[in-house]
Amino acid sequence: MKFAARIRDFWNEFKHRKIGILGLGILVVIVSISVLAPVIAPMDPTRWSDVNYWTNNPKGVPPTWAYYLQGKVPIPQLYLENYKTKLTKISGYPMIQVFLPINYSYTEFPTMVKWKINLTFVGAGAFYEIYIMRPDRKKITLYTGTATTSNASQGWTVIEIDATRHPDVERRIGEWLSSVGLDINKIQVAAPIQIAFADLKLLKKNKVVPLKGKYVFTVRAIAQGKNINVTQFRVILGATAYGLLGTDKSGRDLFKGLVWGTPIALLIGVLTSVLGVAIGLLYGVTSGYIGGWSDEAMMRVVDILMSLPKLPILIVLAIAYRPTIWLIILFLTIFGWMGIARVSRSIALQLKESAFVEAARAIGASRKRIILVHIIPNIVPYTVAALALGIPDAILTEAALSFLGLGDPSLPTWGAILNQAQTGGALGSGMWWWFIPPGLAIAVVSMAFVFIGYAVDEIVNPRLRRR
């Protein structure tokens, strides 16, 4: 009952502190985001670094709202799957033509062109060609290839190619351009495939603008045998904007990364800080209560640990162990308890001489009992602020480690996203949506705890109270 009353008193003080309430408000929001992450951003977080998981997303495109802010309408992601088939014969061999039309009426180029073709045949082998028929009746061969079979009777092949920056496709487009008297090296485009959609007349005037009209992606395949068939033909045209926070260069949905980074950051911060406070409290109180020579020795250890360079040692540990998130929390804890130990010790030194501890000792309470029942509960209020302030410290340190590429590689931590932004040249290519949100998220979560810690500190340490 006494404890509940203390809590109530504390809350009555706390609720008058605007900054504390602000921190608490932010905390409620980030805890909600953490809990609702599977609903807001459905994803298996352990597949974050699995590039195949994101392969069909447009790569490195801005958020949709940013597009609308500029007064432009983004091209949506286009999945073309309804193909038409035409079977003929050419000099006795079976030939198949598969058509995938698209009415392209956008003012911008697709950011990605990917196709997947499932080709089956009966015979020794097959030859295939992928080309595009343009609205101006020009034909551009994009890709050719052959499929063979070992048993000379039945064969199949899956042609799945990201043509956006594919060297073969680039060479083919270059050949087509030189056939119309242009040089691919003199044309400025984000990706070579976009030239296939460019208006030729304007291209000759050095303007790269899409040609509107009907394009037909076509596969033509001839079997050296009896039979040929295409069981799947799909073309994906990449959107120019994606979701709430765009994508990174591997097509990862950055909104999902940001959302899933929240519970991870909270876990790291809270667990590290709680463990650190618990260890520091026990250590400091023991040291202070025992006193004398062992107190001196224990405090020297704290001094030395406090002077250790945190980040370099964490770098060494992380390289040697390639840690999981749990090991990182353990490493961070090693550096996170000394401050509390010092404070706890100095309070324990005062409490040791106080009347109620003297009384407890007089009636024969054991040392362990005095520490656990009489001293620690009286120090706990002082550690609440340190607990709150330890959380941003842990979050920032983990982010630094992940930024160096030494975090848990399987998880979408904010630091890891910033590491990928740094190595992926996000700044140089102006992809602000890649590096601004994760850093802001780190700051906002840290802020919540800093504000709460500040407010709590003012309440429990009245001598520190400032106007």
């Binding site: 002077s307 390289i319 010092r342 340190a386 602000w432 700051a443 106007r467």
Partner: protein, 357 residues
């Protein structure tokens, strides 16, 4: 009194030596197996090349014979280098070599002058980091004293609130991320500052132009460190000053008619100096590590960028050397602060000296 300072400094120095030895031992234990592995692989490759020189089995008749000779040569080399002894025996030799700056050769990274000696690589990097970090620290110290004192003079004012808030915000932002944002804004979006590096390529020949070019490249990284750290430092000074401004002798000075400016910036600041220095000691390591990561963002070719390069290429000897020198620099910075502390506060005694939290 002099003996008190001497004892205090001696204890701090012992502490520093223990810290350095502990860090080196830790890196040696952690990286020992990796280094051994690499060393053995290198020996094997060299021996193989030597034995198989000329002909399929070299001068040996059968492959078995060549193999046996190779095995023997490898074992001899390993023995000569002492690699056959257990790590807990070898580590003391390694410790001594590291402490005496014999840091071996790098695996991948070379110094600008083309040397593979880890010491040479670091000797190139250290002045650059010291330049960036030293400049930031000096500006930081001066500005925080002025801002902190001014805030303390008018507690509760708008200025004071801004100082408190920016102090709190400083704890929440990652320095290197603020660097990324500034770099994006002022080197890419509005290109008025360089996108990275320490000097232009090629660097200007004339000394004055060189200095200006250097300052131009340093502006954003220093600004980054200031933005994040200044609030926190000023906040600490402000709190200490507010405590001191309520003391009786300050009231006395004011009553005597000492001008308010002099009361705050001379009498009170002088009293606040020792605890401020304590806080500085605690903060130096944190802004140093923040600075190392900021170097990466701004491609400032110092010790921080060296960590990045060495981690990317997994150049263990370079990482070990970098950790060693980072530790030395942090320890030296702390010792300097301790020395200053001892000078400004002659009452110093260990234990009673440090402010807690």
């Amino acid at each position: 009194m002099a003996s008190g300072l001497g004892r205090y400094l001696a204890l701090r120095a012992v502490n520093s030596v223990i810290v350095i030895i502990a860090v080196v031992l830790l890196t040696l234990i952690m990286f020992g197996p990796l280094v051994d592995q690499q060393l053995k692989a290198q020996i094997e490759m060299e021996v193989r090349q030597q034995i198989l020189k000329g002909g399929a089995f070299g001068k040996y008749k059968t492959p078995e014979e060549a193999k046996r000779a190779m095995q023997k040569a490898i074992e001899e080399r390993i023995k000569a280098l002492g690699l056959d002894k257990p790590w807990y025996i070898r580590i003391w030799g390694d410790l001594w070599r590291t402490l005496t700056f014999d840091l071996g050769t790098s695996w991948v990274i070379k110094s600008d002058s083309g040397s593979s000696k880890v010491v040479n690589i670091l000797l190139e990097r250290i002045p650059r980091t010291v330049l960036l970090f030293g400049t930031s620290t000096i500006i930081l110290l001066v500005l925080q004293l002025l801002l902190g004192a001014k805030a303390a003079a008018t507690p509760g004012s708008l200025f004071d609130r801004v100082v408190v808030l920016s102090g709190l915000l400083g704890y929440a932002f990652a320095t290197w991320w603020v660097g990324m944002v500034l770099l994006y804004l002022f080197a890419y979006l509005i290109p008025i500052f360089p996108a990275g590096g320490m000097v232009s390529v090629p660097p200007p020949q004339e000394p004055l132009r060189y200095a200006l070019d250097l300052a131009w490249h340093m502006f954003l990284p220093v600004l980054t460190i200031l933005i994040v750290a200044l609030g926190g430092w000023a906040y600490v000074t402000r709190n200490l000053m507010i405590g001191i401004l309520t003391e009786d002798y300050i009231t006395t000075s004011r009553a005597k008619g000492v001008p308010e400016r002099k009361v705050i910036y001379y009498h009170a600041l002088k009293m606040a100096a020792p605890p401020i220095l304590t806080q500085v000691t605690l903060a130096i390591a944190s802004i140093f590590t923040g600075g190392l990561l900021t170097e990466i963002v701004f491609s400032w070719p110092g010790m921080g960028l060296l960590y990045w390069d060495a981690i990317l290429s997994l150049d263990i000897p370079v990482i070990m050397g970098d950790v060693y020198f980072t530790t030395i620099l942090i320890v030296l910075a702390n010792l300097t602060a301790d020395l200053l502390y001892g000078i400004v506060d002659p009452r110093i005694r260990l234990g009673a000296g440090g402010a807690t939290l």
